[in-house]
């Protein structure tokens, strides 16, 4: 008896996780292949947690948190929503598909809704079938990932990028540097094109960033304004504020 | 045929009933027949012999006004239970003979009165109305059986045609191709025939290329809007259309009608579909018309007993008819005209005015007839 498809849940402590406990107290029933992770607030839900989920074999990720206006930490839920939308765009491009990531508002008292949402998501992902993201060699479906997999961590792209200012590069520790670095620069890319021909493996970073920014503008997601740190050595760079 | 009562319990949510009696309390025929909705729910729940339970004449007294279902605090599907029982009886062939005739007629001639299908559009032949199929139009005026064949109600159809023509609305009728909407058929228990009518009518509407349907009867309105599974074309009752035409200035009400008028909210238009304001807007826009509201109006309007197949039922009720109570209420209010927006209300109330001998004090008119006089 397997627990397939694998559904990972990110539940915020104050609403969804509490609601899940209530569902247990009322002996409701939902799909056992749903694995919840508790976070204090969805505002702390990092894009990397989501990517890690798909890399580790999740077929679908369900994010549940407080409705607008009810976040105990003011805006965490709305920050998270925006982040989800960007990641959904990325999932589309990567071939995973945005239906495999869902984001639902839930009050702690909405027990029936929780059960419905989890079971409904399970049905949806079951119909879509296993994600097979990192394991699959399906070049046609995951062609961007196939390209990104070629990354051998030479960091040339990072070196030439004018907006890369971190003292420690976090994506270096991620399974796939290309993908991790992509998630990082997505909002801030100035389209300078310096990364275009610099990758020795021929990964078309410039293109994929453009694609993702286009997806974001389709969703009316303007890039966040990005101040550059003072004393940054990479001078002459314009802030993106729209 | 043995039926498992458990199917009834599940389908109509009988197990949530708390036996509060709101259904029976609000039933328009509670004093006119032994029908007791609350007791029926409990008996159906516990019965071991449903066939015997359901062979009761009072089950045919229900007018399907739906007050019971609408008010039930527990969520029991009361009126649906009645329809389910009637369906069971119809499948056994155990329906009253007049009902059986009405059902057969509809199957054969497309209307419960058994009038000839080919003569359905005769009432319109000199009115210069487009027939869809021969000409195209944006809007379908779905006439209905009573407005097509009953001479009293044909006046309503004629009046509405005049109004729509005056307002330059682009409409057509289906003519001979029109068949019964099936609303009363479903309520008399013939689910299978209703499904067939729904399917055929939906296809016919889709093929005719129209973008909107207007109905004369609230029963047809309710069926198309809420009970036809595959119909996506927007449906309106004519009161909604006329109210809009008046508001947007496309229909000018120029003549005064100096009359005190009251209005009967039809169950299928009012309490079931919440269309209360439009008929009132129309009436109050007629100059000289003094509109008086009966106490039992809107959600409390008293059912005229025309629905639920009652038009084709013989007897089964006793005592003062609701129609007569209504006429007397209207007269007591000082009204000289009882306005209606439903062919069944029109027919039953007019008949009640006669049987109460109050025809010298009040007339029953459809809203279309009043508007037609005022434009």
């Amino acid at each position: 008896m397997s627990l397939e498809p694998k559904l990972l849940g990110f539940l915020c402590q104050n609403s969804a996780d509490l609601c899940a406990d209530f569902a247990g107290m009322e002996r409701k029933s939902y799909a056992p292949n749903f694995f919840p992770v508790r976070l204090p607030c969805l505002g702390g839900l990092d894009a990397f947690f989501l990517l890690k989920a798909y890399f580790s074999g999740a077929d679908g990720v369900l994010v549940l948190g407080c409705p607008p206006g009810h976040c105990r930490y003011k805006r965490g839920n709305e920050t998270a929503k925006r982040r989800m939308q960007v990641i959904q765009g990325l999932l589309e491009i990567l071939g995973i598909g945005k239906e495999r990531l869902d984001f639902v508002w839930i009050h702690p008292s909405e027990i029936s809704k929780l059960v419905e949402v989890v079971n409904g998501f399970n049905e949806r992902i079951t119909k879509l079938g296993p994600c097979g993201f990192f394991q699959s060699e399906d070049q046609a479906k995951f062609h961007w990932m196939t390209e990104l997999k070629k990354c051998d961590h030479c960091y040339q792209c990072k070196e030439v990028c004018p907006i890369c200012f971190c003292k420690r590069c976090y994506p270096e520790s991620f399974q796939n540097f290309g993908l991790g670095w992509l998630v990082h620069v997505i909002e801030r890319c100035t389209h300078c094109g310096a990364c275009k021909d610099v990758c020795p493996q021929g990964i078309r970073l410039f293109e994929i960033v453009q694609l993702l920014q286009q997806k974001m503008s389709e969703l009316n997601l303007l890039p966040l304004s990005f101040p550059l740190p003072q004393g940054s050595e990479k001078a002459g760079i314009v802030n993106i504020t729209k | 045929m043995k039926i498992d009562p458990k199917t009834f319990i599940k389908e109509f949510q009988l197990n949530v009933c708390i036996q509060c009696g709101t259904c029976t309390g609000g039933c328009p025929v509670k004093f006119r027949s032994p029908l007791n909705m609350r007791r029926l729910v409990r008996e159906t729940f516990f019965t071991t012999n449903p066939s015997l339970l359901f062979k009761r004449p009072e089950l045919w007294a229900c007018t399907t006004c739906s007050t019971c279902s609408l008010r039930c605090p527990a969520g029991v599907k009361n009126v649906e239970l009645i329809m389910g029982i009637r369906n069971f009886l119809a499948n056994q062939g155990e329906v009253p003979s007049t009902i059986r005739d009405a059902l057969e007629n509809t199957f054969l001639q497309g209307n419960p009165w058994g009038r000839f299908r080919d003569r359905r559009a005769d009432w319109a032949k000199d009115l210069g109305v487009k027939i869809l199929g021969e000409a195209a139009a944006e809007t379908l005026l779905y006439v209905g059986c009573a407005p097509s064949y009953d001479p009293r109600v044909q006046n309503v159809s004629t009046a509405l045609v005049r109004i729509l023509q005056k307002a330059e609305v682009d409409f057509g009728i289906l003519g001979k191709k029109e068949s019964c909407c099936g609303s009363e058929i479903r309520r008399m228990g013939e689910q299978a025939l209703f499904k067939k009518l729904a399917k055929d009518n939906t296809n016919l509407f889709k093929k005719s290329g129209i973008k909107r349907i207007i109905t004369i009867s609230p029963h047809c309105f309710n069926a198309f809007k809420n009970e036809y599974p595959d119909l996506t074309i927007p449906v309106q009752h004519y009161t909604q259309v006329i109210a809009d035409l008046i508001e947007t200035g496309r229909l000018r009400i120029s003549q005064a009608l100096n009359l005190p008028v009251t209005y009967q909210d039809p169950c299928f238009l009012g309490k079931q579909n919440l269309v209360f304001d439009e008929p009132r807007k129309i009436l109050t826009s007629i100059p000289g018309l003094e509109f008086a509201e009966m106490d039992r109006s809107k959600q409390r309007s008293l059912c005229c007993e025309g629905g639920g197949g009652r038009m084709w039922a013989e007897g089964g009720t006793e005592g003062t008819r609701n129609g007569e109570i209504r006429i007397k209420e209207a007269v007591a209010l000082g009204a000289k005209v009882m306005a209606t927006a439903c062919p069944f209300c029109l027919l039953t109330l007019e008949d009640s005015a006669k049987t109460s001998s109050l025809t010298d004090q009040i007339v029953v008119k459809d809203i279309t007839e009043l508007v037609a006089e005022a434009i």
């Binding site: 056992p32 607030c41 420690r168 976090y170 | 036996q19 009696g21 309390g25 106490d295 959600q299």
Partner: protein, 649 residues
């Protein structure tokens, strides 16, 4: 070398009936870093805890996974256990295999499989836990109580008489809430005003209570022990230090007809300047700026100012916002009655003499519009009165909940009406909810008085021949009835206040499905909320009668006083910190922090978390590009380990 101990709790049969605990323990024993894995019937019991303590002492276990009920139940228990064995309590991880596993999945194989995933993740996570020191915060000794009905008043008195300070904020111009509107109360028939006036007077006199009327709580910042609240004082246009409550201004007000009085539930009218009612505390005039001709239209002779000998009227008064620092908050905002306009079958608002329960209280009250006489709109005495139960309650078309007190209220009103008018009285009911002390006895008394009880919910009210007809069915006889009466009293239910959602958002508390504020646990923590330091009292948490309201208010007061007495409380150590070596000074964290808890250190060009203000939401850690910002106990490492652990078993 980490030594992890994994303990699987059977929780009697709660977990063991669905999850194979010994198999789970066996599986846990195979995981990397796990030195011992056991299963036991009740880990939270003394012998259960001793089991763990023994392993810590004898096997040198230094990290503990407890797979059992929700951490909300026993995280504290096991954290204390670790502390008592000199282990840092944050080396504990609770795996929820009850509420989120055994209780929600029916298939034993799959539930056990899932439990394995959960334990696998818990072990992976705990091996990355770091030792943390719990923060202690001080508790400011004063309390904010929102709402001065009987609940707020009771709590305020308990706390103030205990020597602690109270800030009591009330929206209306008087204190007493709905109880002030009642005539006699069930089952003893005490007059409401008589029994609570001693309390209201004490509130006004008590030096430890600072009362704000015509005020609302606009904003709440901070956390348990240290809340900063902003109180908005609406202008009353009367200087309450000068006003003597003489009422001359009211006499003089030019508004002839006035507007419907809120206190009288619309049964009487009041002027633009008014005194709430004769025994109001405080007895001060207030001006309603919407009906006042001068304030709304600028056109008035201001005869009120002329008439006021104390020169108290001041049309220049402005709204004030006052900030207070308190340690705890009690929410006692009460209820709103159900609006019967929403159920048109009862003709409320269409015909005269169809009134709500509260409106009847005003009619019956000696201070009401008819001086306590039950009269119809035309001034005559009704010969027959109907009381309809469950209006707006227990109804799929209105509210699902039972409003608990209306059966008793209806019967009390029936008794009063009978006494005053001798009328025929009909109670239309579905069930009789006479649950409290003396309530069944009262029900018997009312039956003995000859009041008719008809078991059938009132279905409709309509007018016929000058009388009101109640349509229902006598379900016990099985016959439909139409009873003509002169007066209908609708037993309207209690609902959450219309602005409950806004109040919940301001405070950060949640609402239950029925709209009332949610308690932390329905049975064991009825006055706490999910926000530490904020408590509930009275009908804002759910419908209840006066004895239960007073009891709950005292319970909330006890919780508050317990906090204050202790003087300090431990709060989560799971706040954020920023590694100064890694931080590049991009300030993204500063922008996103909802509490402005991050400062920028100009000289070093980096950001730094102000630990006193940080609430541990994690927003900064998610947004930091280099992960210089990390949230303790929810680091990247730890969460990623949990994610991986759940999926890749």
């Amino acid at each position: 070398m980490k030594k992890i101990g994994v303990y699987i709790c059977h929780c009697g049969t709660n977990i063991a009936a669905t999850v194979d605990c010994s198999e789970l323990a066996r599986f846990a024993g195979t995981l990397p870093g796990v030195k011992v894995a056991r299963d036991y019937r009740y880990l939270c019991s003394d012998p259960g805890q001793d089991l763990i303590k023994k392993d810590i002492r004898e096997l040198g276990i230094d990290r503990v996974v407890v797979a059992a009920c929700s951490p909300r139940m026993h995280e504290m228990t096991f954290k204390n256990l670790l502390s008592s064995e000199s282990l840092n309590p944050y080396f504990l991880n609770i795996a929820n295999i009850r509420e989120q596993c055994s209780w929600v999945h029916k298939d034993r194989e799959r539930a056990t499989e899932k439990a394995k995933h959960i334990v696998h993740a818990a072990v992976a996570r705990v091996s990355r836990h770091e030792p943390l020191e719990a923060r202690k915060v001080g508790i400011k000794p004063s309390t904010l109580i929102v709402g001065a009905g009987i609940a707020g008043i009771q709590a305020a008195l308990n706390i103030a008489n205990g020597g602690m300070r109270v800030v009591l904020v009330e929206r209306a111009p008087y204190i007493g809430g709905h109880m002030a509107q009642l005539d006699k109360t069930f089952p003893t028939l005490d007059c409401a005003s008589c029994i609570f006036t001693p309390k209201t007077v004490e509130v006004a006199r008590n030096k430890n209570i600072e009362l704000f009327i015509c005020s609302e709580v606009a904003d709440v910042k901070g956390y348990v022990g240290n809340f900063t609240v902003a109180i908005k004082k609406h202008p009353t246009y009367v200087d309450h230090r000068r006003c003597t409550g003489c009422g001359d201004c009211v006499e003089a007000c030019v508004l002839k007809r006035g507007v419907p009085s809120e206190f009288e539930e619309g049964m009487a009218r009041r002027k633009a300047i008014y005194l709430a009612f004769p025994q109001a505390v405080p007895l001060k005039a207030v001006v309603d700026k919407e009906s006042c001709l001068f304030l709304s239209k600028g056109k008035c002779k201001k005869t009120c100012i002329e008439a006021c000998k104390a020169e108290a009227i001041d049309f220049d008064q402005k709204e004030e916002v006052i900030e207070k620092e308190v340690g705890s908050i009690i929410v006692a905002t009460g209820y709103d009655p159900f609006d019967p306009h929403l159920l048109p079958q009862y003709g409320y608002g269409v015909s005269d003499n169809i009134i709500t329960g509260l409106q009847f209280e005003r009619l019956s009250s000696p201070s009401g519009p008819n001086r306590g006489e039950i009269l119809l709109k035309d001034g005559t005495v009704p010969k027959a009165i109907a009381f309809l139960h469950c209006i707006g309650s227990r109804d799929e078309n209105a509210k699902l909940h039972c409003s608990r007190i209306c059966c008793m209220a209806s019967m009390k009103q029936a008794h009063l009406a009978r006494e005053k008018t001798g009328a025929e009285i009909y109670e239309f009911y579905i069930d009789i909810n006479a649950f409290g002390k003396g309530y069944q006895e009262f029900y018997k008394r009312v039956r003995e008085e000859g009041i008719y009880f008809i078991r059938g919910k009132g279905s409709e009210i309509y007018k016929r021949d000058g009388r009101l007809i109640v349509e229902a069915e006598d379900t016990l006889l099985g016959t439909p009835v139409e009873i003509p009466v002169d007066l209908v009293v609708l037993g309207t239910g209690l609902t959450a206040r219309r602005d409950a959602e806004t109040v919940a958002q301001v405070l950060g508390i949640s609402q239950s499905a029925d709209g009332f504020f949610m308690e932390a646990h329905p049975k064991l923590r009825p006055v706490s909320t999910n926000v530490d330091g904020i408590f509930l009292a009275g009908c804002c948490q759910g419908p209840k009668d006066i004895p239960d309201t007073v009891a709950q208010a005292s319970a909330a007061a006890a919780e508050v006083m317990s906090l204050v007495t202790k003087g300090e409380i431990e709060v989560e150590a799971t706040i954020s910190s920023i590694d100064p070596e890694i931080c590049a000074g991009c300030k993204l964290c500063i922008e996103i922090c909802p509490y402005s808890a991050i400062d920028f250190l100009d000289i070093r060009g980096i950001s730094s978390v102000n630990e006193a203000l940080c609430k541990g939401c994690g927003a900064c850690t998610a947004v930091c590009p280099s992960k210089a910002a990390r949230q303790r106990h929810f680091t990247q490492d730890q969460v990623l380990a949990e994610v991986e652990g759940l999926l890749a078993v």
